[in-house]
Symmetry: none
Subunit: 234 residues, 2 copies
């Protein structure tokens, strides 16, 4: 399972569909946007691993979006593959100058698409973080696949481990159950929303110190948030 999330940005629905089919066949998770504004908020929101960006967009041109993303420090490492119509060769130059990591000329074969995408993702470095993720006394070592609190090893199931990994790289931010299902379980599984509650509980239990968990907060009406609770409330 690659488990990489690809953001498809194109204003034509049929094109998006084609891309999605090809990518899901290759086991990527897809999310879609049809204009630059929507795309931008999805980048912030969903943190995809790569963007497939059409040259022509209704509002801001694709190239402009690429430029903005590459300029912003938070998103500058996000790989971008530009899609461009056949014959517009000069776009290639401009696109690569702007910071696109690759470009693909329409029409293209699914195989070519996936091959280039793989190459770009590989070049971008491992999506599995090598550095330990931390939150206060909590440390998750991705290499050793191990979680410790105060150096004490903590046991949990694989799903809890993935959930915690996600939370640790997205702290201080509230997620709905649906978002968590998407990110931690993977987009296309059908699971009850309440299942998230149960896994949250299991994770809380695992992370509990003195019977109380200081890491996961319930956001009523919304979902959950991970953040280190520093001081006790009075």
């Amino acid at each position: 399972m690659t488990n990489n999330t690809i953001l498809i940005v194109d204003d034509e629905a049929p094109v998006r569909d084609m891309l999605r089919v090809a990518l899901e066949m290759a086991d990527y998770r897809c999310i879609e946007a049809e204009n630059a504004q929507e795309a931008h908020s999805m980048v912030i929101d969903e943190q995809p691993d790569l963007i497939l960006l059409d040259w022509m967009l209704p509002d801001v041109s694709g190239i402009e979006l690429a430029r903005r993303l590459k300029r912003d420090e938070l998103t500058s490492t996000l790989p971008i593959i530009m899609l461009t119509a056949k014959g517009e060769e000069d776009h290639k130059i401009k696109g690569l100058e702007t910071g696109a990591d690759d470009y693909i000329t329409k029409p293209f074969s699914p195989r070519e698409l996936v091959a280039r995408l793989k190459a770009v993702l590989r070049r971008a470095g491992p999506s599995v973080p090598e550095e330990p993720l931390t939150a206060g006394e909590l440390v998750l070592d991705p290499i050793g696949h191990r979680v410790t609190i105060h150096g004490q090893s903590v046991e949990m199931g694989p799903t809890e481990f993935r959930l915690l990994t996600f939370f640790l790289s997205h702290q201080e931010r509230a997620y709905t159950r649906t978002q968590l299902l998407d990110h931690v379980w993977g987009g296309n599984v059908y699971v009850e929303e309440r299942t998230v509650d149960v896994h949250i509980r299991r994770l809380r239990k695992a992370l509990a110190v003195d019977g109380h968990d200081r890491f996961i907060q319930t956001v009523r009406g919304t979902g959950y948030r991970f953040s280190v609770q520093t001081a006790e409330r009075v």
Copy 2:
């Protein structure tokens, strides 16, 4: 079986393919990277025995990568053979100055490649570590090909010995069954993944003290990890 792992670093896929074919014919295991960043993480990740490094790379130049590897204590003994295009003779000087152990001018014959590679590997000394590998009371003496716990000799089969050798030099890190097959069995053998379980069991049995093994942990959903279990949980 040489069982040596060679890391090929070149941005041109055809060149990599040619090298791989030549090397696999000579019974080396090959892994590939197409840029410096990828190469660096593969060095850490896969611990190859030698690097074939192209002079020209898209991101950091090959020479720069070589310099970094030679500077870092962990990787400074890793032999490097630089690949350089014909005629660029001054590269030879610079390359050898940087710490490359040999250089080969493109185009070259497969025979020449393998011959030089062998020479460099021989010069680099045995890939078998000379120093004993230890983990707590467990000591593996590579020279004497012997394992002891508390000075007590421990018997095990050749596969278990290789597995333990690998684990001892990669402690605290979780490996999938596939990775273990790659590293311990050698890349291109077809063996069932479950076979790993069986050898893990045999190794555990051999390392067991009082019927319990304190060295190998099962990482559910992933594989196994070697690490000395220090204290009991309450």
